[in-house]
Symmetry: C2
Subunit: 714 residues, 2 copies
């Protein structure tokens, strides 16, 4: 359990900072209830009192809404019924429900359009007699209904919402999530539940990476061989695409389709090899990496083909953007094709210029189809039309470069979810941090950011656990004021939000325990969960590199190991780190008691964990981590003993712990222990305290101390 | 944890019984490994030794298979990769894989057809150097591959299969599951995962109840208003239907579509009121029960309409059966329609005869479409054609009546999953028990049975937990020899199978914990799980009746209560019952130690559980059960104290326990405590022991006893 008191205090500080930065905020944050809002609103004012949510709850909509808003309000009814167990008398919100005294009155000026840049602001006022949600347009009202959901609290007395006044609007207009459905396909229900998650945290752009060397994922009526030959049968029909778009639109989310050209294009060439830069035949890749065939930019037929294809897709996808990829074209095929080399003479100097010409031709076609082109930052070449939106993945400097050159730009660098960083890392990644100074016009070109879920190492069972809850923190970074950045407050609210996301049907919690049961071959996975709650999958691309080196990692390979079950935010480790950090600043017996309690839990878990692991062929590789956790928790307990006795830890003991810490930092089975630093810090604290008091080195463990009693090797 | 030793012993007994009944069985069952097969095979012979499953595993298919079998073998590869973590070099099984030395060689004589009655027999021989699966046709080979999966075992040394020889075939040719997708719609992925579960236990008929008063669930091109107006948008497109059929066919499962007529028909009449027996308009029901409008059997247009509709469906569904419902036609509309009354003059005496005529007309049309009609047992009326298959739901006597009258018949009476009986109850329900004597020809008419999942009280989140694992025991009843009926063995294997089913993607385990987290609003649900593991939802239709009486239970009502999270086989209660039962026969200190241990767990859990419940508005209604569990565990501990001290429990104490037992038997929040009987039995045991020894009533608790120490009220 996150320690409520301290974190509530920090949350209050965080919200105080928000309110202090706002002329509007007049609240008394110190008395604020434990609000679990994420993203944190721009302005919030909490009062005493609350609205009790009971079986008589009802919603009415007043003003000029669209069906989208009625449907959203009806979903809110259903959600509240599922959560509270009430069966409301109102089954649906329709234009017949215009009672100005309904429990929740939604006032909206116009339907609104689903696209980045639409007015998403809203105000929400909750009083003891009901709530009023006001928005310029229906999109803002959808956002406000999500805030309403998050305000609902439960205690022994029932369900209620605190009296509150919220004025809210997003900081950035583009708050996206990219899902790569090409490398591992993700069926429609996976997309739908992730759309529900996005809606819960007010995101507004779903970017689908729909083609790559491993598969082409959208049916084309004009070029049917794209999926007939290039998908292994795993693709969205046009009807399914329309269903996804509708599902997203219902939630105020734009779908941006990406068809990656000129490279990452093998799946196009399986059916249509004539447009590649080298002769076919081409076979769909089942492995990752390797060569990267590309479209032939010198062949006029290539543009006829792509023009017809993108025209079809412009009709299928109603949103304003079409993504043309453009990344990682290594140019090998271009270099070795004599026709392309001849075509480049004499004006095109290199492959970059050749790709710029290709991009411009494509971009012009997409503009002619009434859409904006967007591409990865490789398309940012001299001469590329200002219209083209640049999605930056290689570094933030490219974001500012693109913006300065007049391009709208979206940041994905630092938001790569497949890197499996702790959420705090993504959270800290501000598109425009305080120390970056941009002209107003340049700043206006920075539309926002996008979390990116590349899918070499995820499948429908695990993908939610890589996207969530981290993406919620990215959503807050992009929605909330820049000074909402307290990490402890973020983690406190993320922990609560994670359960809310599970209520939306996301699987990141329940599939972890499922995977652990399957790995252990047992229902009784409590000892294993103790370990999993302090480990995380290795960050970056180390795991993928290792797998690729084995030579037999393919799209068919199982993703059912401990590294797939582990997540990048192991809650126990996060909490423990927080305790030690706080203890190092303000030593406090109660805190020490908690730290000791946790260390003892790890110690006492060791036997059951080893027993479980010894019976499971797949868990045996993880045993070194279990041993490290047991060893480290013993070291931590000793360190606290020395600390308490104000005895300097003996030199030999400290030296021996070093070996244990080195062992514990090793990557084992593609996971890492996440409690090494704080336990090492306990040793340092014991040493520092002795320094401070000026004590001599203790040669032996204090007699009768817990260290001696637990029999550590000196 | 199920006590492995005892149950292994019982399993050995069970399999001994099987083998003893077979001339073929020559095994040494006492030395048999812990086999977790379900359904239990007809003949099994286990030897020492095992085949080690490693990364070099491969499959080849020899003989005359169809693509279905190659696909099934490829799925087996994937499954074994997911389970073991290996990436095999073989990515798919194709006709190129004909290596007679592959790890698993599948020999098959012909492709086989997916339909009840096809030869499903197979033999499977596993030796230390590999396995050979032999089947007359591909359907039998699919069944044998499921046995292969279940033979895979894991221990510290790795994965292996025991050396074994299995000759297997089903007892009944119709082993079905009916899912009502009309009252609550179940999207395609729900159907697909349940098909995977069915395949795992060798079931072969999926019966979909596709229309009822609450919705029409299949798109018709001929009569599009059926779903346009009668489905609330929740239906299968014809493409989705074909996908479901293909998915089922891949697994050797026939899909039987049911379109219920003449009653349960409101969803037809929303779009086509002209065929009803009373004027429209009709609105889709959102509630359950009530009046039951019916087709007009006197109107020739009715038969044109239904004829055209069933012809379309006969083309869409390739299987040999079409289900026409026929149940619960109360005839109110017929009675009050003067045209129908006139039509009946002078030859049709009553509504039963009228329905028989209706059934015969329909049945003839379906026969003309090349299909067999099947209907609920109400269609069994004098004059109904012998062709019509009778699905019996009202009582087993109807099964024999139908069979004696020459109808093929399928048993669903006793297999109603929505009754939420303990699995043991379904398991005991043999279509032809030992004491029923039928002529060979009559017996041959009994095709088998079908589990029936009516959906008034299930939704996609909870449906798996009502179907599984109970249905696996029904599958065993219908596949395995009649003398495979040891309940303890069944539960031991069911417990293991339940985890296998979770590996197939079924959600009955993980969604329970998800629901509990949502109910508690907390990750920490261990105290709640202790309770949930000893409670079960109330059996029969008491919950539905209660909800209907409230007047606001509809298809929209939430199914997120403790009664939805609880399951009919609470494992801890089943285990505890077994311990007490065994203890009552063979008092044994080790067993008493376990019983006391469990009683102490309940005692010690009480505080944390009460704390959790007091903070959750939705768990407060369950508190009486938590109190009862605490009180009963205290009584149980006292009873054992009296038992140990051979002291007669004082009269007042026994009388007071009676009150506690009465309280504990009350239905609370639509759930029941399932450990009342065994704890009461502990009291009886203490009394009986005192009787036996002839001791006087102990007036006070034995001094210094645990009973006194725990401070019970006397």
């Amino acid at each position: 359990m996150i320690r409520k008191k301290r974190l509530l205090f920090l949350a209050a500080l965080a919200s105080f900072a928000v309110m202090a930065s706002s002329a509007w905020g007049q609240g008394t944050p110190q008395s604020e209830p434990n609000l679990d809002l994420m993203p944190w609103p721009a302005h919030i004012h909490v009062e005493t009192g609350s609205y009790p949510l009971d079986r008589n709850f009802s919603i009415s909509v007043i003003g000029h809404p669209s069906q989208r808003l009625y449907d959203g309000a009806t979903r809110l009814l259903r959600h509240l019924e599922d959560r509270t167990g009430f069966s409301f008398d109102q089954h649906a919100v329709t234009q017949d429900n215009r009672d100005p005294h309904a429990a929740l009155v939604i006032r909206v000026g116009r339907p609104g359009q689903v696209k980045p840049g639409e007015d998403e602001s809203y105000t929400l006022r909750v009083r003891s007699d009901g709530a009023v949600l006001t928005a310029t347009d229906g999109i803002g009202a959808l956002r406000g209904m999500q805030t309403f959901r998050q305000l609902v609290q439960a205690d022994g007395a029932g369900f209620h919402l605190p009296d509150v006044e919220i004025k809210d609007h997003p900081r950035f207009e583009w708050r996206g999530l990219m899902i790569d459905v090409a490398r591992h396909f993700e069926p429609v229900p996976v997309i739908e539940r992730n759309l529900r998650g996005m809606a819960a945290v007010k995101m507004n752009v779903l970017h689908l990476h729909l083609s790559d060397n491993q598969g082409f994922r959208v049916q084309s009526h004009v070029f049917p061989k794209l999926t007939e030959l290039g998908s292994r049968g795993e693709y969205y029909t046009q009807r399914q695409v329309r269903a996804i778009i509708q599902y997203a639109d219902d939630r105020g989310i734009t779908v941006v389709p990406e068809f990656d050209v000129p490279a990452h294009a093998v799946s196009w060439f399986v059916g249509y090899p004539q447009y590649a830069s080298a002769p076919g035949p081409y076979a769909l890749r089942s492995q990752f990496g390797g060569s990267n065939p590309a479209f032939d930019p010198s062949n006029p037929a290539t543009y006829q083909f792509l023009g017809a294809f993108f025209k079809e897709m412009a009709g299928l996808f109603p949103g304003p953007y079409i993504h043309i990829g453009g990344d990682e074209n290594i140019g090998t095929q271009w270099d070795s094709n004599p026709y392309i080399q001849a075509y480049m003479q004499p004006t095109i100097k290199n492959n970059s210029e050749l790709q710029a010409q290709f991009t411009n031709k494509l971009s012009a076609m997409i503009t002619a189809d009434g859409k904006h082109a967007i591409g990865w930052d490789e398309i940012l070449q001299p001469g590329v039309s200002e219209d083209a939106v640049i999605q930056v993945w290689r570094g933030k400097e490219d974001l500012y470069k693109a913006a300065r050159e007049g391009h709208p730009a979206v940041l994905s660098s630092g938001y790569y979810l497949d890197m499996l960083h702790p959420t705090a890392v993504y959270y800290a990644n501000d598109p425009i941090p305080d120390d970056v100074h941009l002209a107003r016009k340049v700043r206006a070109n920075i539309l926002g950011g996008e979390a990116a879920m590349w899918s070499e190492l995820v499948d429908p069972t695990t993908i939610d656990s890589r996207i969530w809850p981290s993406t919620a923190a990215i959503a807050e970074r992009l929605w909330s004021p820049a000074d909402v950045k307290d990490v402890a407050s973020m983690y406190r609210r993320l922990y609560v939000l994670n359960l809310q996301l599970e209520g939306e049907g996301l699987t990141q919690i329940k599939n972890q325990t499922m995977l652990l049961r399957q790995l252990a071959g047992s229902y009784d996975i409590d000892p294993l969960k103790v370990l999993v709650n302090v480990i995380a999958p290795v960050q970056g691309y180390a795991r993928l590199s290792t797998l690729l080196r084995t030579g037999h990692y393919t799209i068919y390979s199982p993703l059912t190991s401990i590294a797939d079950a582990a997540t990048s935010d192991p809650w126990t480790a996060i909490r423990f780190q927080g305790w030690v950090k706080q203890f190092s600043r303000h030593p406090d017996p109660e805190l020490e008691h908690k730290i000791r309690g946790q260390l003892n839990v790890w110690q006492q878990n060791s036997a059951a964990l080893n027993d479980l692991m010894s019976r499971s062929p797949r868990l045996q590789s993880v045993q070194p981590l279990a041993h490290s956790l047991a060893a480290l928790s013993q070291i931590g307990l000793h360190a606290l003993d020395y600390y308490d006795e104000v005895g300097r830890p003996p030199y030999d003991w400290v030296r021996n712990t070093t070996t244990a810490f080195v062992d514990a930092r090793r990557t084992v089975a593609q996971v890492n222990l996440r409690v090494v630093d704080p336990i090492e810090q306990l040793v340092v604290l014991a040493e520092e305290k002795a320094d401070h008091v000026g004590k001599q080195t203790t040669k032996v463990a204090p007699v009768g101390s817990r260290a001696a009693a637990s029999g550590v090797a000196q």
